[in-house]
């Protein structure tokens, strides 16, 4: 298999790309499936379930906040003001409409408007 591990000049070979995709697919699949299959055979302890109760809000909040900053390892992150300002009408839309559809539409429109100001 002709694989160029070194410089970035050659286009990656099809075999290399395909093997990588299959490897990546395998680890993501195992991460998703193994807990569901195994946990049905064992009971989770109350301590673990108490911990898991916080998973939804922390994951969603972390995925949101991740987009409000740009990382510079070793320094304070750069604030992404466009996304922070666009989040304001989006939060208001959430409070008023309580509809995910409107939240996403208002969010996208907010960013387009901010980009053109």
């Amino acid at each position: 298999m002709p694989v160029d591990w070194g410089c970035g000049y050659a286009v990656p070979s099809f075999e290399y790309v395909l093997l990588t995709i299959i490897g990546c697919g395998l680890v993501t699949w195992l991460s998703r499936v193994l807990p569901l299959v195994l946990l049905k055979k064992f009971q989770l302890s109350p301590k673990v379930t108490e911990f898991l109760a916080f998973v939804p809000i922390t994951i969603m909040a972390a995925l949101w906040f991740e987009n409000l900053f740009t990382q510079r390892l070793g320094h304070l992150p750069i604030t992404n003001w466009d996304n922070i300002w666009a989040s304001v009408p989006t939060v208001i839309a959430a409070i008023i409409t309580k509809s995910l559809l409107w939240i996403v539409i208002i969010g996208m429109a907010s960013l387009v408007i901010i980009n053109h100001l």
């Binding site: 694989v3 970035g8 990656p12 290399y16 790309v17 395909l18 990588t20 995709i21 990546c24 993501t28 991460s31 998703r32 499936v33 193994l34 807990p35 569901l36 299959v37 946990l39 049905k40 989770l44 379930t49 108490e50 898991l52 109760a53 916080f54 998973v55 939804p56 809000i57 922390t58 994951i59 969603m60 909040a61 972390a62 995925l63 906040f65 991740e66 987009n67 900053f69 990382q71 390892l73 070793g74 304070l76 992150p77 666009a86 989006t90 939060v91 959430a94 309580k98 509809s99 995910l100 559809l101 939240i103 996403v104 208002i106 969010g107 996208m108 907010s110 960013l111 387009v112 980009n115």
Partner: protein, 235 residues
Amino acid sequence: MNHELTTSAAIKEAMPTVFGYIGIGIAFGVVAKAAGFSPLIVTLMSLIIYAGSAQFIAVSMLAAHSPILSIVFAVFLVNARMILISTTVSRYLPDQATWKNVVLGSFITDESFALSMNKINFTDHKLNFAWLNAANSVAYWVWALASLVGAVLGQFIANPDDFGLNFAIVAMFLGLLYLQIISDRVLGINLQLLVVAITLVLMYIGLIFIPVNILVLVVTLIACGLGVWLRRAFF
């Protein structure tokens, strides 16, 4: 959202999240095409890896000719939150045939997870195969199709931000977070807001010295631990 755990209810309830996938899926296709990957490869990535942000990382590492094992490990780390997600969902599923758990696990994703955590507030904390499988399927096929469209459109779109595409997924997480907070009756609103604020602080501090690729997982683990402690101590 209602109490019905049916295929049609799931498809209807998943519709708003479709915008999130279309936005970020097209953005992924555009980015991958720009990095030199064909629409076929782009679609295969979405069908086989099926991992949102981890796919962006795989593309940039492939373009840099990184060793296969280091790419696979990076993708595993970025997506390791799926272990938590899958573990959390398992609590709400009935005892059912193993193949059903394999199917549900194979296609679960951040968004169908978030939707299902909203849904259980209306269903007496229960999920079933029909509902979750339909919500997952909407996510999977829209994601793959949007990536393909993005890769094909890639030559015409220079900046996906012109259409607010990159913000669609941010708005979606924000919206799902809000809907989760107002519908959760177990933890209470003050404790949830406090944990969200802690998450923000941890993300900001963590960005200084933890690579962003694994930061979401690290912060989730710490914030959940702090949440448990706060709940016992003060709530």
